[in-house]
């Protein structure tokens, strides 16, 4: 018997047996398990910590209010350190515990998990990040880039600066520079910016910054020479505050700088202090919301009882709110799934997926949840896994973030064809077929 045939027989035997052995050991108590991939250490910790605290606080808050129709939410954190291989390990570790949904919190990890989730039948929520083409639920059945993608972000930023110039056609001949984190995250907006630059005739310059982004002297020297009209900042963690410090050093006006929604939170600007005054960033649905009802509720129900995850004063900050609303979306999807599969039952990943695909959070429901003024309605469907693209621009005044624009929505006439093309390319590479209408019903 050659080695190969031994291996083959062993593989066949094992495959047959493992199917029998590995019946999932879920269905513990009546608890809906939410795995939390977080990073509380490493270069991105200043931004990762408030996000993680927000997610955990919301689950505690839901439990304090009696769970999801009586089903308690349980959770476990796993430290990814923003590293893809660590994230994959965490995913494997936590999925065995009956995971409802994963929120990778890193574009790199999202890419890796996108390949694994369909096989494991676990949905992925990437609220405001992840791969843009996964909006197309007909190809990406298990991905949910809820509330918007980077293409939406780039589109809205261009709409905003266009408006400032007095019409988007006035961008012709202007210079826009993208300073981006040199990773899948930072590269995501490039196709859209290139598309728009062809349409409107502005000059796009791309400047990558390598991980973790503390070394940006060369990038800002280029900006100084090139003198762009606008700088878009696609940074995360220490890269944001470093960029602002460099902007101060090179004398680039901060009010011409626009960050994506991951470059517009308190940790990014606090260290720079007055230097960051006038700096703008996108606000994905919400900004800092210290006065919202949900924040008061969380303070009363969770922090008031001494169960707060982080310090009290971060409650209501931008990234904390982002974590809070990410957890809210995860929970509401389960609640929606319960409407179909039985109230008060623990949902499997597959059932929860239906909930995320049929999310219908209208303003009334959001208000009831305490998210009045924090979020705008989200409704997803088979074709649109994004649900909404609402965003505003907010500006740092040296002490806090203030909204400085109206609501925007991205221009679907540009983005839709791009999503379709990219999703088709992905499907062709993976030899997937688009989902049939019947599949959408299931």
């Amino acid at each position: 018997m050659t080695f190969k045939s031994i291996a083959l027989t062993a593989a066949c035997m094992a495959a047959a047996l493992s199917a029998a052995v590995s019946t999932p050991a879920l269905a513990q108590a009546k608890e809906q398990f939410f795995p939390l991939l977080v990073y509380r250490t490493g270069a991105y910790a200043p931004n990762g910590v408030p996000f993680a605290n927000g997610m955990q606080d919301y689950l505690k808050y839901i439990n304090a209010k009696g769970g999801i129709n009586g089903v308690k939410a349980s959770y476990e954190e796993c430290e990814t350190g923003y590293a893809t291989d660590k994230g994959v390990e965490c995913y494997e570790r936590l999925k065995g515990k009956g995971a409802t949904v994963f929120q990778p919190l890193s574009t790199g990890i999202t890419f890796a998990l996108t390949e694994k989730a369909p096989g494991d039948k676990i949905p992925l929520i990437t609220a405001g990040y992840g791969r843009s083409e996964s909006t197309d639920g007909n190809v990406f059945k298990w991905n949910f880039p809820l509330t918007g993608t980077y293409w939406d972000a780039a589109d809205i930023l261009l709409q905003h600066v266009g408006k400032k110039e007095g019409g988007i056609d006035k961008l012709k001949g202007k210079k826009v520079t993208l300073v981006y984190h040199d990773s899948p995250y930072g590269k995501e907006p490039i196709p859209l910016l290139q598309e728009r630059s062809k349409m409107h005739g502005f000059d796009l310059q791309l400047i990558p910054v390598t991980h973790p982004g503390v070394e940006q002297k060369a990038a800002w020297l280029q900006i100084r020479q090139n003198r762009p009209d606008y700088v878009f900042l696609w940074g995360w963690g220490v890269m944001n505050s470093t960029a602002l410090k460099e902007a101060v050093a090179t004398g680039f006006p901060r009010d011409k700088m626009y960050g994506v929604w991951w470059a517009g939170a308190e940790p990014d600007v606090k260290d720079v202090g007055d230097g960051a005054k006038g700096y703008n960033a996108l606000a994905l649905q919400h900004g800092a919301e210290p006065n919202s009802k949900i924040v008061k509720d969380v303070l009363a129900q969770v922090h008031g009882k001494g169960q707060g995850t982080g310090p009290k004063d971060e409650v209501g900050q931008v990234l904390y709110m982002r974590g809070l609303s990410a957890a809210m979306l995860a929970v509401e999807g389960v609640r929606r799934a319960q409407e179909r599969y039985g109230k008060g039952k623990v949902m499997t990943g597959e059932q929860a997926r239906w909930g995320y695909e049929n999310l219908a959070l209208d303003q009334k429901k959001l208000d009831a949840l305490g998210f009045a003024g924090v979020m705008r309605p989200i409704s997803t469907s088979c074709a649109d896994h994004r649900g909404a693209t609402w965003a505003r621009v907010h500006t740092w005044d040296g002490a806090k973030w203030n909204f400085s624009s109206d609501w925007y929505q991205s221009d679907d006439s540009i983005i839709k064809p791009m999503i379709k093309a990219a999703a088709d390319k992905y499907a062709a590479e993976k030899k997937l077929t688009r989902r049939t209408p019947e599949d959408c019903q299931s």
Binding site: F3, A11, A14, S18, E79, D85, E92, R93, F111
Partner: protein, 354 residues
């Protein structure tokens, strides 16, 4: 008592030159292989496969490759991550661009491309030695990082720079479940470990070791340094390249250049140093130490049911892991493989040590 070669007479050259001349060793290896091929797939849970065994096998393979270069030929390299990246991206390109390319062929072609790059970056080793060479191989690391981030052709024009593969098949058999992936990697590892073991005990391996121990003396007795050094680079980068391709294809499934950054190079170098320079066995020990230990440390609080802050757990993991590395290097600078062979020596005298 149990482990001694008394009475095992060799009556032919063949027997004398066997890889494992001692019968007990052959038995042990046979048992380990049987355990790895038959028992493990039957009993191990999915988490063990995906998070521990598959990374362990692939990184063992990479450490094996690096050990040939660093341990056997004495050429310190910090470009391992780069050669892994070349292997992974080359294999990806063969897979994507050529329709119907068999998986094993593209993986091996990834290794071939890594060989070419490895030899190219090995050329400076003819002039510079030691730490200076390490710095020169760093260039390979930075160059490939740059190339795979910037040159769109390599990533098939993917907008984000991240590439992915799916639908892996060997001879019509899918490589899909964790068990299949595990056996696939194991098969590669066994073949390459045999290959490496036989190379290092043949005349090529002796040339490498002669160069490592003293290159002037080696060239005086007629060993061509050019040939010896470049073959070491070639063999090493081939194995490392295949390991990189497996890492991308089988373990990650979707990857970006950051998966093969400088940290990966250091990690592999540590594996080789901690496991034991110039030892095939050491590569496995080193990989096990570096891959498995942090995960075990990380999981420890949960197993014992101690609620511990995630950040604290992760800091503790780093501290304990670092302390253990220092401890092992002080206690046994020749690595875990040396501890293993000391153990074997002791076992031969047991239970009557002099």
């Amino acid at each position: 008592m149990l482990y001694r070669e008394n009475g095992q007479f060799k009556t032919s050259y063949r027997a004398d030159q066997a890889v494992f001349p001692i019968a007990q060793d052959r038995l042990a290896i046979g048992l380990i292989l049987a355990f790895a091929i038959i028992v493990v797939p039957l009993v191990a849970p999915e988490y063990l496969f995906r998070a521990i065994l598959i990374p362990f096998l692939i990184l063992s393979l990479a450490a094996l490759g690096l050990n040939i270069l660093v341990g056997y030929c004495g050429q310190i390299s910090l470009g391992t991550g780069a050669f892994m990246a070349v292997g992974a991206y080359a294999a990806y390109n063969f897979q994507v661009r050529i329709d119907g390319m068999p998986l094993i062929v593209s993986l091996l072609m990834g290794g071939v491309c890594a060989t070419a790059v490895g030899v190219l970056f090995g050329i400076p080793s003819l002039r510079i030695k030691g730490l200076y060479l390490a710095v020169a191989t760093l260039a390979a690391q930075f160059f490939t990082d740059w190339a795979f981030l910037r040159i769109k052709w390599f990533t098939n024009d993917s907008s984000s720079g991240s590439v992915s593969v799916a639908d892996l098949k060997v001879l019509g058999l899918p490589i899909d479940t964790p068990v299949q992936k595990y056996l696939f990697c194991l098969a590669f590892l066994i073949v390459f470990a045999m290959l490496a073991k036989n190379l290092v005990r043949g005349h090529i391996g002796r040339e490498w070791m002669a160069i490592r121990d003293m290159d002037v003396a080696a060239s005086v007795i007629g060993i061509r340094p050019v040939y010896a050094k470049l073959t070491a680079f070639a063999v090493s980068s081939f194995i490392v390249g295949v390991a990189g391709a497996l890492w991308g294809f089988v373990h990650l499934g979707s990857w970006e250049p950051a998966a093969f950054n400088i940290d990966r190079s250091f990690q592999l170098l540590f594996m080789v140093i901690i496991g034991g320079l110039g030892s095939i066995m050491g590569s496995f020990f080193g990989a096990a130490f570096i891959v498995v230990l942090p995960i075990v440390l990380d999981n420890m609080p949960y197993w014992f049911g101690i609620p511990i802050d995630t950040a604290l757990a992760s800091h503790l993991t780093f501290m304990i892991f670092g302390a253990l590395i220092v401890f092992f290097l002080i206690v046994e600078p020749h690595g875990l493989a040396r501890l293993w062979s000391v153990g074997k020596e002791k076992l031969r005298l047991w239970p009557f040590p002099h």
